[in-house]
Symmetry: C2
Subunit: 271 residues, 2 copies
Amino acid sequence: MDTRPIGVFDSGLGGLTAVRELQRLLPGEDIIYFGDTGRVPYGSRSRETIIKYGRQDVAFLRTFDLKAIVIACGTVSTTALDLLAAETPIPVWGVVEPAVRAAADATKNRKIGLIGTQATIRSGAYERMLAGLDPEAEVLSGACPLFVPLVENGRFQPGDLVVETVAAEYLAPFRATGVDTLILGCTHYPLLTDIIGRYMGPGVTLINTGATCARQVADILTRRDALAKPGKAGVSRYYVSDSTEGFAQLAGIFLGRDVGDHVEQVDIWRY
Amino acid sequence: MDTRPIGVFDSGLGGLTAVRELQRLLPGEDIIYFGDTGRVPYGSRSRETIIKYGRQDVAFLRTFDLKAIVIACGTVSTTALDLLAAETPIPVWGVVEPAVRAAADATKNRKIGLIGTQATIRSGAYERMLAGLDPEAEVLSGACPLFVPLVENGRFQPGDLVVETVAAEYLAPFRATGVDTLILGCTHYPLLTDIIGRYMGPGVTLINTGATCARQVADILTRRDALAKPGKAGVSRYYVSDSTEGFAQLAGIFLGRDVGDHVEQVDIWRY
């Protein structure tokens, strides 16, 4: 048994798609979430800046006594996981490995698509991981730099002409190549599931990286007997680097539940 | 005569549209530009965060011995100009007043449109300034939160289906109301001049806030006899908070000239 909370962070709100699955699978766990809303998006910034921001995010979370940290951010997971894990004395998990395992399990034609931020695609992290797991699988990857601004602006409803147009542009090469599995390599993208799913068609499996990561975290903690005491409901607390105003409404959509009044602002530059 | 450089800053690259006009009007002036590329965009953040970032931008520029600071950022100009000017012992100028004067001069039907970031529209700064100048002019305003991500991603070419779709959505109410003057209340928007101009039609005057601001700066410095020595070509230096990699190419488009190797990275959090 380990009653310490799980720490989770993201550049903004996307990581809440992982928190949502953690809360569903492990309702007894306490969760500390940090969303860097004062500096979102990360995915178009340089490697050096992403590493600096990721270090500060981890340093803030480490002011709590945590059992593990989940990088629920595709950009930081692909750009800085090894480095952050090496620097941190508690386990640090990212979204890449569980997503690649899920994609390798799901694909039948071994053509896997990957969409993500510019930094995620530039990193080559998914391709390296998959090459180790299934050297014969092909990966087609493409950056979708406008998806995060669209989602953070609440533009993810099917029928929204702008997001449908952007999605069609980004996804056309994947449909043309006939991938049967598409990794949503950014934790913001699950909010676009309906739009992406409809465009790609029912034969394509979409991998939600936040959710697959949460499932792996649940597995590991269960195997290690590191879950909190059963029977007690966990508490989630949310921290953001911009004002807390306006956070609750959009966060509720990502989470599928109310964040309540457990939201505080943090000056991330102090870490 | 005043040989000190002019300081200019923006959340990212948009302020270069003001620098471009300054360089054209005052080729003898030295310019220090700061673009906060590690934290762009500002326009969707809270007032409190915009003030904090603006203060750091000014503090960095003040490490140089400047004759004046130009806030070539619609978001900071509308949200924090008074405060930053009051705190700073050299003149600090923003984009609002010159744009409002130009719009009041240009309009015939006294229906003026204003587009900008969410923070700019929320501030009400343009409406207040115009009410003092021409109480009978009407202002119709609307936020265009996706314009900055589109422009910073290089998506500003006429014919680009995504930006054309976004522009049509944002501008439809302005066309319907029959404004004859439209203030581009964000220094990124001049890159969308062709798209916006074609959509609004030839009867609508577009006010480029960066350029009108630069013209006012040139007027004031000339009147105060505060220009650099004539006959000497000015030097412009550029500082950014993200990596300098990739800056030069996009900056060249904003500036209409090569930035050369006068680009350095600065750790804005130290200010």
